[in-house]
């Protein structure tokens, strides 16, 4: 039996992108459409769209590096939308066998990183406001990203002596300091570091050219300098 194909309109709705985006992706080879009998209409297999939409890191890094459009279902334009989607994730996660207690720490880590993006960029977003928030609980991965100021520029408002992205990220994860001083705040990423150190949760976090990789059994918090300078922040949480 022939597999039922989705029209380009249905595919656009499925992925939450514009029709023109799908046409462009087809022409560039990023997401190739099916054309029946040499016709010009574009069709898509649902399975292909599902696989395409599962590459969370590709969408997140493509967006913050070069503003590449991504499926709209991953976009949270405001903090309230992020909170609503996080609550939905929490509900599914807490019913997953083995996560009956751990879910709250995974939600805490995700919530702190996402909320930081909104709190630190409020009224200061360089271009697109909001964050990328995608997750696949089967694959046990959560990806967050923003096109904001990044950790160095944020913390330089209170610590103008910070010499590098690496130093800024180090401070963000280890000291009680806030980019919004004199408001008293800045404990979130410290707790993220502690929770990730103690629990079966892995974290990759990058801002500018600073990278934090806390993975495996013997996790040590260390900030290293990566190859590329990324704007904003990008985080991958695995569990």
């Amino acid at each position: 039996m022939e597999e039922e194909l989705l029209t380009i309109g249905q595919a656009a709705e499925y992925l939450g992108v514009a029709l023109n985006t799908l046409r462009r992706w087809d022409e560039s080879g990023k997401l190739v459409a099916i054309k029946k009998d040499g016709g010009t209409h574009r069709y898509y297999r649902e399975k292909d769209l599902e696989i395409f939409a599962s590459d969370l890191m590709m969408f997140a890094s493509g967006w913050i590096e070069s503003g590449v459009e991504f499926p709209g279902t991953f976009y949270c334009s405001t903090s309230s939308i992020f909170n609503a989607r996080l609550t939905k994730m929490e509900y599914v996660l807490m019913q997953k066998p083995g996560f009956e207690k751990l879910y709250s720490l995974i939600v805490l880590v995700t919530g702190e990183i996402g909320d930081n993006s909104f709190a630190h960029n409020l009224g200061k977003w360089p271009d697109t406001a909001g964050i990328f928030f995608g997750y696949d609980l089967e694959k046990r991965i959560i990806v967050l990203a923003d096109r904001g100021l990044g950790v160095l520029e944020t913390l330089c408002q209170v610590r103008p002596d910070l010499p590098s992205h690496v130093a800024a990220v180090e401070v963000a994860f280890t000291e009680f300091i806030s980019g919004r001083a004199p408001e008293k705040r800045g404990n979130g990423l410290k707790l993220v570091r502690e929770v990730v150190t103690d629990q079966p949760i892995d974290l990759f976090y990058t801002s500018g050219d600073a990278e934090v990789r806390m993975q495996g059994a013997d996790k040590v918090f260390r900030v290293t300098r990566g190859q590329h300078i990324l704007r904003g922040c990008l985080a991958k949480i695995e569990f």
Partner: protein, 96 residues
């Protein structure tokens, strides 16, 4: 007086909403007599983040001191959050 924290929601994450919750609670807090304790009950809360709690519990601790009593919880995020707040504020909560 006992406050069921879940009245403010079960997923308590953002600073913004923590701050709103604190402001909203001030009118109720005025009913607390000078020697009365305020007990915080975490039951029903699914996730408590340090950002939300820093906007709500930290200023309550400043206002009430020893009269702020935290009831026991077996939620991991509540434990982790209270630990970091005590470290950041260099002040301990009174726990029951």
């Amino acid at each position: 007086m006992k406050l069921q924290l879940e009245k403010f929601g079960t997923t308590l994450i953002s600073r913004e909403l923590g701050s709103e919750a604190f402001k909203a609670f001030q009118s109720t807090l005025r009913e607390l007599s000078p020697d009365e304790e305020l007990e915080i009950d975490f039951s029903g809360v699914l996730t408590l983040s340090p950002s939300w709690a820093d906007e709500f519990l930290s200023p309550l601790l400043n206002q009430l001191g020893d009269r702020l009593i935290l009831l026991p919880s077996d939620n991991l995020s509540v434990h982790a959050t209270l630990r970091i707040l005590q470290e950041a504020n260099k002040q301990s909560f009174t726990m029951k």
